[in-house]
Amino acid sequence: MDINRRNMAFTVALFLGGAMLLTSYVTDITSWEAWVPALLAFFLSFAVVSIYLKLTKKYPEKHLPEIFVCVFGKCAGYAVSWAYVFFFLVIACFNTYSVSSFFVGYVMPETPDIVFTVIFVFICSRAVRLGIENITKISIFIFFLISLFIILNFILLLSQMKISNFLPLFDHSFYEYLQAAHTELMNPFGETVVFLMFADKIKNNDFRSALIWGIIIGGVMLMLVVIRSVAVLGVTISISAVPSYEVLRLINIKNMITRIETLYSFLLLILGFFKVSIIYCAISRLTAYLTGLKTEKSIINSVGAFLACMTAVSFTSGFDSVNWGTKYAAFFATPFVFIIPCFLLLVITVKRKGEKAK
């Protein structure tokens, strides 16, 4: 009961911020209108989150596996929970790999990516060892640092923004918007299902308002980044791999503050660190619960090692992860983010009606 509302809200916002690095999946479908699917996903995410909130309302102070066990009974509940462990593992691998491949691709070309993965997962394991309470406590301080940096970038780039880059509004087919919105919905917003794992550490209505506020703040930050990229790059956004990184290369003030995009990559590292450590914490809590351990402290390092190895195995090159991100990630995530919670809700209401009828 010791995470307070404000900390949790900013942690959720930072969690969404982790997707700043990966907006390139959306931009190459709807090139200069990347903000339309982002906005669509922002509003749709409220629908998805309301399902989670209904779940927590029905089972206050219970985290995800406990809800499964209550609803589906012991063995089915455990099976679904193990599926969720696999889901969280895949997201964590995907995020760690995208951060390390970003660093290999852009900042330090000659280092093998296994080095970045190992050190990145090691630092995340140190954060998880602190426990989710302390991670949420740091989040406010780091959130203000990061939003300061983003607003500063926005101002620095104001001179190069052209309104005409937005102009041909709604010139893409509805299918393209839907596809981009679906990918966007699943990537940052859908992954907030991870926070259901920490529902038992926070009072129920605190959790609900924290989740809503977190998504609003995180969504606004993401929108700011996407609008900034579209306004400056215009049409070329569709062919740039990491648009928000490309944009920073263009800042040029008196030839002194120029080429500062490497600082931005460290900022992305911190955001990635936050996102992965939250998912990592969820995995270790889930495995600890499923294997009947009281505290997950002892198996943190093993889960981390497993995560690092799996990241190294699962993606071979940067293109591989981009391909997975654009094509398959959304479909892989939909059952876990949307279908199973809906099914859960259905079963609960049916059960409630059953009891009422008796």
Binding site: F86, Q179, I299, F306, A308, S314
Partner: protein, 67 residues
């Protein structure tokens, strides 16, 4: 790659000690330990084909659910 293996082993050894008390804790620890060790050896041997994410990709291609 052997160096990253050495790093993992070092961390596990120090962790192995403080799972003295609870047998179940040690059991889970060992399970994850062997799993990651196997994966690490595979990586150092350069085998990169087997990975769950590739399995999912082939599955989705088979069902051709993809954008």
């Amino acid at each position: 790659m052997i160096i990253t293996l050495a790093a993992f082993l070092y961390i596990w050894l120090s962790d192995f000690k403080n799972t003295k008390g609870n047998i179940k804790e040690r059991a889970v620890f060992l399970l994850l330990f062997t799993l990651s060790l196997a994966l690490a050896i595979l990586i150092s041997a350069g085998v990169k084909t087997i990975s769950p994410i590739k399995a999912i990709q082939t599955l989705f291609d088979f069902l051709h659910i993809s954008y």
